[in-house]
Symmetry: C2
Subunit: 163 residues, 2 copies
DNA sequence: GGACCTATTTATAATTG
DNA sequence: TCAATTATAAATAGGTC
């Protein structure tokens, strides 16, 4: 009998959320959703997945650094916290996620539950896991960085000539 | 009255799919799902998101390269196809996805529909988009690569001392 | 900010063509 | 292999505390 407010979800358009508060809330929820989906993909299919998420820009503060510096600082901070402090306060700064099973097997054959370490914000990792993440990430990204200059393939007549 | 086979989805456990065929099908579907979710996150909240997905290993072929070489080759191939061939046959090799709006704004102020280019496998990009992706990715990854050696932060008494 | 709630939309497992 | 279908599980928008 009483009027009732509508709570269920509404359909959503693919467009930037203008309301600052809604945008932040949606970011938090969906970031977790993306990490979860990525982890499921990696675990269930054996794919190797790397994700980096930068949080949305916050409203400018009086003495905030420039945008390029900001990224560098975020990565620096991520590294320091990863290696030095058990990552307790990084939650809103940077999230990294990476699954490199083959690397893991080489580096640490006796680690159990390799499926689970990949997932989630890095503040939940311990030192060993974070170190391996860092190694794996650097290794992977080095390859990405070099892919342009080292290309020696040929593509002719609709076919690839590897080697 | 007739017997009917059940088609609807069943609940799923977080574990590797053993059946090769099911695994491949699930990979294709869920990879698209992850890219879609990541794009939604980026567009709706203004976050910047980078994703790399390596497909699951295929059954070993007689003369397949070693696992490390495989990655290098995949990146090489991705690059060659990105820059030289409009990316028509890359579908099962490598998918890259990246949203770097601030970079895009600098490099190409008159590009329309910046929200949409991020999404999807790179074989759907045109040359310009792929070039920008490459630049943005290299720039981003260079920063990631350097984050370890350039760290100059201090963490004391539960607080970060930036600068 | 986070944890929970509920109505709905969305993603997708299994199957068919 | 690839696109459609359908039943259902899962994600999530908006709300409350």
């Amino acid at each position: 009998m009483s009027t009732r407010l509508i709570k269920g979800r509404k359909s959503v358009h693919l467009a930037k959320i203008e309301n600052q508060n809604n945008r932040q809330v949606t970011f938090s929820k969906r970031r977790n959703g993306v990490f979860k989906k990525a982890n499921e993909l990696a675990v269930m299919t054996g794919a190797e997945v790397g994700i980096i998420v930068f949080p949305p820009e916050r409203p400018p503060s009086p003495s905030s650094p420039g945008i390029d510096d900001k990224y560098v600082q975020m990565f620096r901070k991520a590294n320091c916290m990863t290696l030095n402090t058990q990552l307790n306060t990084l939650k809103d700064q940077l999230y990294l996620s990476l699954n490199l099973k083959s690397k893991l097997k080489e580096k640490n054959k006796n680690l159990e539950s390799q499926q689970e370490w990949f997932r989630g914000p890095i503040e939940k990792m311990n030192y060993t896991e974070a170190s391996m993440l860092k190694e794996g990430l650097e290794d992977l990204l080095l390859k990405v960085k070099n892919y342009g200059t080292e290309c020696g393939f040929g593509y002719e007549n609709g076919k690839w000539k590897a080697e």
